[in-house]
Amino acid sequence: MTEDDDRVAYLGGEGGSDLDDLTRADLDDLRDLLADESLWAEPPAGLDDGIVAAIAAEAVTRPARPETPAAPPDPAGSPTVVPLAPRRRQGLRLALSAAAAVAALAVAGIVVSRSGDSADGSVALAATDVLPDASGSASLRRTDSGWRIELDATGLPRRDGGRFYEAWLRNADGVLVSIGTFNEGVDVVLWAGVPPSEFSTLTITEEEADGDPASSGVRVLVGPVELE
């Protein structure tokens, strides 16, 4: 047996009597790593769905990328995190795919402001895979009290009995601010205390009154705020 073979055998748990102490110690460290539970751990099923959904949601609001490499972006900012509580993974599995989201945005149509010329901004809301037939728009108006947002959406089945829709504004760092909850998407008035210039993505999610105030991550409508 060559020395290399002796090392291999020792790494596999056999032999090694001819190896020097230093070599054995190195191989022992490697064996310790091979016995480390984290080394063999597999991510939970469905995590890829959450990642696809998180990227898709952000891609919807992101300008098209050039095909040639651009200046390196800073990856350090905290991205949007789709909550990963097990009870909600089913919803995540239904969450939008990137292609579907982009396609839906393309056919979402032109925003029709409900406030006419007085609107200070608008949002065209695109459907996701959760409710692919949904669509909607919103108009924003600045007031002394904050931003009044009128939402009108179709294709959202009524949710009650502890279930509801929740509207959010999100900034580039992925910070979500809730701007209201509702049961149906017709003539909804929402109020935001954060500037849409910074919190420039409007998202509607499905929620349950389960004591968890965080977003479920189950997005049904997504769209970028366009300020006048």
Binding site: L11, D26, P43, I51
Partner: protein, 204 residues
């Protein structure tokens, strides 16, 4: 077709290795565009590695899950800067490690350990996660075992993680002991070749 890691590669002094990763240039383009197929392809080949790094660094599956998700989103954001000639695994492992450190620091600042009550030298404030130092090594070793054929990988797992003897492995898998011995030797030879640089650099 360009692959981020050649299916067959040879490291100096190491064995020829058949890699499991098959992320293609097309997959990378899809990933960069945020397309579901591209994202899933990269995750399929590197999700385990990223999760292992995060779990080693953070020690909690729930936090590792969050770190894995953030890692892939950050990688997508930075994908324009990624050189396709480089290996994807080490790049993702680096992002995973940094992300894990950020999450560790965030957790250390939770109300259970309010900063107002914590001295500047408190370990929660100044220390990195316990496992982060070895997370690089975990990434290297995980990448190596991910190159093994499934049957050899399982034997290595049973031998080291479950601490089974080769006889017990043979009984568990229902294969002759000779088969276990030969597969085990072949697998460990590959690992020794792939990971020899760790020992040479004294990092293990």
């Amino acid at each position: 077709m360009h692959r981020t890691r050649a299916k067959d590669q040879h490291r100096p002094g190491g064995p020829e290795v058949r890699c499991r990763a098959v992320v293609t240039a097309e997959d990378l383009v899809g990933f960069r565009r945020g397309e579901a197929d591209g994202v899933r392809a990269v995750y399929r080949d590197y999700g385990g590695l990223v999760f292992a790094v995060a779990l080693k660094a953070l020690g909690r599956r729930d936090l590792a899950e969050e770190a894995t998700q953030q890692t892939f989103v950050k990688a997508w954001r930075a994908a324009d800067a990624f050189d396709p000639a480089r290996e994807l695994g080490p790049w993702l492992a680096t992002i995973a490690r940094r992300t894990s450190i950020d999450i560790h620091r965030r957790e250390a600042r939770r109300p259970t350990s309010p900063l107002d009550d914590v001295a500047p030298a408190h370990p929660d404030v100044v220390e990195l996660p316990v496992g982060v130092e070895r997370s690089y090594e975990v990434a290297e070793v995980r990448a190596a075992i991910d190159t093994l054929p499934p049957d050899e990988r399982e034997i290595v797992r049973l031998q080291h993680l479950e601490e089974l003897t080769q006889t017990e492995v043979a009984e568990r898998l229902g294969v002759p002991i000779g088969t276990v011995k030969s597969r085990s030797f072949r697998a460990h030879k590959r690992l020794a070749g792939l990971l020899g640089h760790l020992r040479d650099e004294g990092s293990v």
